[in-house]
C-alpha cells in the first residue's frame, strides 16, 4: 500500500507537498523492486551490501529485529543473491556478502528505480542545491 498515504487534515501546502513526495517515492521504490522480482525489504537489504555486513549490524541500521534480517537473508540466499559466511574472528557472527548475481540484480533494480534520478533531473543545478539544503534543514529537528 506504500503507506503513509493520505494528507492529514489541517496541513500547510508544504506539508502536503512533502507528503505527496514521500508517497510517490515509496510507490516508485515498490514498483521498481517488484519489476526485478524483489520485495522492497529485499531490495533494501541487498542495497546495503556494498561490503560485507554482520546480521546485527544490518538489523541496527534498518531499525528492526535480527530475526527479521535472518528471514530476509534466508530468502535472498535461497535465490543465490547473497552468501552467508562465518565471521573470520568470531565464529558466532556472519558476514553477508552479495553474490555476483546479487550485484547484477541490484544494479538492475537501481537502474529502474528512476524516481530520485528523474526527480533531480527536473531541477537545475542551483535548484538541486537549494532542495538539498532545505531538506537537510527540515530534517534538522528530527533525531538520527
Amino acid at each position: 500500500m506504500a503507506v503513509p498515504s493520505g494528507p492529514v487534515a489541517a496541513s500547510t501546502e508544504a506539508e502536503v507537498a512533502m507528503f505527496d513526495f514521500v508517497d510517490a517515492y515509496d510507490r516508485a521504490y515498490e514498483v521498481a523492486a517488484e519489476q526485478h522480482g524483489l520485495t522492497p525489504a529485499q531490495a533494501c537489504v541487498l542495497g546495503r551490501l556494498t561490503r560485507p555486513w554482520g546480521m546485527s549490524e544490518l538489523a541496527g541500521v534498518l531499525g528492526c529485529d535480527a530475526s527479521n534480517i535472518t528471514q530476509i537473508i534466508v530468502r535472498l540466499e535461497a535465490r543465490d543473491l547473497v552468501r552467508r559466511e562465518t565471521g573470520p574472528h568470531d565464529r558466532r557472527s556472519r558476514q553477508i556478502v552479495r553474490t555476483p548475481e546479487g550485484e547484477a540484480r541490484y544494479a538492475e533494480f537501481e537502474g529502474s528505480f528512476a524516481f530520485a534520478r528523474s526527480a533531480v533531473s527536473q531541477l537545475s543545478l542551483a535548484e538541486q542545491e537549494q532542495l538539498t539544503v532545505l531538506l537537510r534543514k527540515a530534517l534538522s529537528s528530527s533525531p538520527r
Copy 2:
C-alpha cells in the same frame, strides 16, 4: 523496517537528501502509529475517513486490492474505530465511517506525528514556499 532504506551507489547530494528525508518521514509515521496502537496501514486508512468512503474507493486511492481493505477495516471495526454501513442506494456497497473513538484516535495519532509539522517549523515562510515549489517540480516527471 520503513523501507526504502540505504542510499544508492552513485547518487548526487540531492538524491541522498531526498532519500534521507523519505526514510525519516516513513519511520516517524510508523513510530507515531505504533504509539497509538495502530499499524501504519490502519492509520493510513483511518486518516482517509474524513467522510464516508466505499471499500473499492479506498482500494482505488490506496492502490491496493479491495480484499486488503476488507481485512484492515475488519480489524478497525473490531476495535470500534470504524463502522461499516450498507450503502443507502446500492446495498452491495458499504459506507465506511469513523466512530467517535476513531476520530479521537486519529486525532491523537496526527498530533504525535510531528514529523511534517516540525520539519516545516524549521523553515521560514519563504523557505516553505521554495520547498513546496521544488518538490512539486521534482515530482512533475512522475505519473499521478
